[in-house]
């Protein structure tokens, strides 16, 4: 029987590292900073070596776990381990974390309930992150240290205006509340959203004005009406489906039902009328990598292909 108490350990880049103390952590967490206090017990019985430990990190930051998560920052909590070879927690653990950064997107100030079953995976039972004035909740997530992981994020009561300002598209603002689910698959090749859905839970507004919008409107007749409508679109319904790679092209399909002041005869005349509109926009954009490099408006080529379907209706018949 052997007991070990670490006292207060401080980790610094290039200095003492957790994986030096506990080799099974190699490749799981690296480049750690912050501190922890740990006590471990080891017993050699007929069943071989039995180990357990209680480890209390304080604002511990590290790269990982594995290659799926780029950086975990300021993790604090008390973790109990039923085995150290391999690293296995004693059931579910609860921690506070400053942020979990997946590289393509970072989730701040979370509270995470997770366990390490000892099979090179981290199983998240629930993780709650305040985001866009609402919450992003990871319901079930299995993060494999080798990159293979699945997570389902549920968005609750997010502020559309906050989302649009995060996108940093010049002249694009809005208001409204949205909710939905974003199934994220980190397979070995990419981080993908599969059938993400966001819906408005209240009427709202989309405004798209300014140079980017005007430039987009010039491409052809259909575009002019589309961006005329988008100048100030009041919607009663909004649904967005999201698919694609977080580190590549994301395909957004928006459907708005609402109304907007549009110039119907399209000759630039003053005949604006408030028309009911079903607006479908399919936007394919390497969104996250652009946001990271904040280059959305500067050197990206905006290709607009606007099509306008004219519903056969009596609108064109002149009134007596």
């Amino acid at each position: 029987h052997a007991e070990f108490d670490s006292g207060e350990l401080r980790f610094v880049a290039g200095g003492l590292q957790p994986s030096k103390l506990l080799p099974p952590l190699i490749g799981i967490i690296s480049k750690a900073t912050g501190s922890l206090h740990g006590s471990a017990v080891a017993d050699w019985g007929n069943g071989g070596l039995k180990t357990s430990a209680v480890i209390s990190p304080t604002k511990l930051s590290f790269s990982g776990p594995g290659i799926t998560v780029e950086r975990t920052s300021e993790l604090t909590g008390v973790l109990t381990f039923s085995n150290l070879f391999p690293v296995t927690t004693d059931g579910m653990q609860v921690i506070e974390v400053g942020s979990i950064d997946f590289g393509s997107i970072a989730l701040p100030n979370g509270e995470v309930r997770f366990e390490l079953p000892g099979d090179d995976t981290l199983v998240v039972e629930e993780a709650v992150f305040p985001l866009f004035d609402g919450q992003m909740i990871a319901e079930k997530a299995v993060i494999g240290f080798d990159g293979g992981s699945v997570a389902t994020l549920r968005a609750e009561d997010l502020d559309l205006g906050a989302i649009l300002s995060f996108l940093k598209v010049k002249g694009l603002t809005g208001a409204g509340r949205v909710e939905g689910t974003l199934p994220i698959v980190f397979d070995r090749f990419a981080v993908r959203i599969e059938n993400g859905v966001l819906r408005a839970t209240s009427p709202g507004v989309i405004e798209f004005t300014g140079p980017t919008a005007e430039a987009a409107a010039q491409s052809n007749q259909g575009a002019r009406l589309a961006f005329d409508a988008l100048e100030f679109l009041r919607f009663s319904e909004l649904e967005a489906t999201i698919n694609g790679r977080l580190d590549g092209d994301l395909d957004f399909k928006f459907t708005f039902k609402g109304e907007s002041e549009v110039d119907l005869d399209g000759d630039g005349g003053a005949e604006n009328v408030n028309a009911p509109i079903i607006f479908r926009a399919n936007v394919e954009v390497p969104l996250i990598s652009l946001i990271n490099q904040a280059r959305l408006s500067r050197d990206t080529r905006l290709q607009i292909e606007a099509a306008r379907e004219q519903l056969e209706n009596e609108r064109n018949d002149p009134e007596e």
Partner: protein, 92 residues
């Protein structure tokens, strides 16, 4: 890479993936020590890709992919590598 990795590569227990990381091909033949070494190398590679990416203003995945292509093309015959669809194939 360290001998344990080179031997595992020669025996097609480990191979180069198209995302720029090492993959375990034969789970049953992979010891804990080998798994640990693969995890360690993959984390160090991710670090290297991040630095390469930010130095050249490209996404991390793009930097990793270009490196993967070079590693896969350069892999000696008899080693196993992933093809574009992610299948493991033995280099002729």
């Amino acid at each position: 890479a360290p001998p344990i990795i080179e031997e595992a590569k020669a025996a097609c227990v480990v191979g180069e993936r198209i995302d720029g990381y090492l993959g375990i091909i034969d789970e049953s033949a992979a010891s804990d020590t080998l798994r640990r070494e693969v995890r360690d190398i993959n984390q160090k590679r991710k670090d290297a890709y991040q630095q390469l990416a930010s130095a050249n203003g490209v996404p991390v995945a793009a930097a990793a992919k270009v490196t993967a292509e070079k590693l896969i093309n350069g892999a000696p015959s008899g080693h196993c590598v992933q093809d574009a669809s992610g299948q493991w194939v033995k280099k002729p």
